[in-house]
């Protein structure tokens, strides 16, 4: 896959730290599962996590403020659990071909593995809800703040101009769009923050389907947008 737009370093870092919202983490995990270069960046970032873990406490630390005691009996309990575990070496990993869920039924190859856990393997099987002519959506799950949602937009349609109070992450699953930032096609990720206001236009001749996650409500800049915002919870 020819991917031109990648994850922002700060987004990647927070994903590895475990501090992204559930929806944004899903977009990141989905992109990483199809993007080799971002996956390498994740490995590097995880090494930072390992170094930080190493610094937490030392097993021979004499520094009392840094020492955390693990319950003495805990090791015995854990060892007892090991005895109950069959030491199974999974062969799944050697059987898989590395493509996300490529062998699962109905997977068209457009749905990255982490997303398929939520919506199954086919974008055409999604229970789309109509928002307005040419606009469809499906909420992947409910978020406390923000959204995690699939959008399907017909060719030639433009999404209302909007800005963001927080971050907005978009992963292109099918089709393409162009906006003030550039042109986005399958596999590309648009990683935007509150500095950017944009109006994406679907420029191909097929529907544009993307996974969008935000960590706070979007901010529409037109009157119509402000009116429909309470209805659509954008």
């Amino acid at each position: 896959m020819n991917i031109n737009h990648h994850l922002d370093e700060a987004t990647l870092f927070s994903y590895v730290a475990g501090s992204l919202s559930q929806g944004m983490a899903l977009v990141v995990a989905s992109h990483i599962s199809i993007c080799d270069s971002c996956r390498e960046r994740v490995f590097e970032t995880e090494a930072i996590g390992g170094a930080l873990l190493n610094e937490m406490v030392s097993d021979n630390s004499s520094d009392s403020s840094a020492s955390v005691k693990v319950d003495e009996t805990a090791l015995e309990q854990v060892l007892a659990c090991l005895d109950e575990e069959e030491p199974t070496i999974s062969l799944d990993s050697s059987l898989s071909d590395g493509e996300p869920d490529a062998c699962s039924p109905g997977n068209t190859g457009e749905v990255p593995a982490p997303l398929s856990d939520y919506i199954g393997g086919s974008l055409d099987a999604v229970q789309w809800k109509r928002l307005s002519p040419g606009f469809y959506y499906f909420d992947v799950f409910k978020e406390q703040r923000g959204i995690c949602r699939l959008l399907k937009v017909a060719p030639g349609k433009s999404i209302l101009p909007h800005g963001h109070h927080g971050n907005e992450l978009t992963l292109l699953l099918r089709g393409s769009y162009a906006d003030e930032v550039g042109r986005f096609a399958q596999g590309d990720v648009a990683d935007l923050d509150d500095q950017i206001e944009h109006q994406p236009l679907v420029d191909g001749n097929e529907d544009c389907i993307c996974l969008v996650a935000t960590d706070s409500p979007l901010r529409f800049t037109t009157l119509l947008g402000k009116v429909i915002q309470p209805i659509t919870r954008f």
Partner: protein
């Protein structure tokens, strides 16, 4: 005010760290419990300390630590010594265990289990390289400017989102992201050995 990362100056030597990665790789193959016990005694306190920093109560942190340490046994066949040091892999186990518990749902993971290169043989040189990197990063973190160390701390140790950090520090979201970006890029350069340690920062 928020604490700045308390990095200890005398971190373990590369040899020690390499030994832990080699030990974990060996345990994955042999399922030797005496190796498990040594790994447990070394890493369990670190894992628990990390989980507590994330804001989990002591009793729960103890449970989550045990679960993470059990996973070290159950999933050891997935440890890839040519890709990461033992500490890095344990960090991901501890992170997933605590986030899944805090959110009551699974933190989306990229499907590592599906990756074929998991099964590659790791050479001794690879293992050494990974742990040397861990050394360098620890030192580089201690040399970050305070405002960068602070956002790294809040993100990693406290699990705070960009907007939470922005609210707490009363700075714009964009500033939080650019500080994290600068720090992360600096740490990765160090990791690749492209900048020397101990220089002017």
């Amino acid at each position: 005010m928020v604490n700045v990362v308390p990095i200890r100056k005398n971190s373990m030597t590369a040899n020690q760290s390499k030994a832990w990665s080699a030990m974990l790789a060996e345990m994955a193959v042999t399922k030797d419990k005496s190796l498990y016990i040594q790994l447990y005694q070394h890493f369990a306190p670190k894992v628990k300390a990390y989980i507590i920093r994330l804001g989990v109560m002591e009793a729960t942190a103890e449970e989550l630590t045990q679960e993470a340490m059990l996973n070290m046994w159950r999933k050891s066949h997935l440890f890839q010594p040519n890709k990461s040091a033992a500490s890095t892999w344990l960090f991901t186990l501890a992170r997933n265990q605590s986030i899944d518990w805090m959110r009551k749902q699974k933190y989306p993971e990229y499907s590592l289990d599906n990756m074929q290169d998991r099964l590659e043989e790791a050479s001794d040189a690879d293992i050494g390289e990974q742990t040397v990197q861990s050394e360098r990063i620890a030192q580089a973190i201690s040399q970050l400017p305070e405002n960068q160390a602070q956002v790294i701390y809040m993100s990693f140790y406290e699990g705070r989102s960009h907007s939470e950090i922005a609210d707490r520090l009363m700075i714009p979201l964009g500033s939080v992201k650019s500080r994290i970006r600068l720090a992360a890029e600096k740490l990765k350069l160090t990791l690749r050995g492209e900048i020397s340690l101990g220089g002017e920062q």
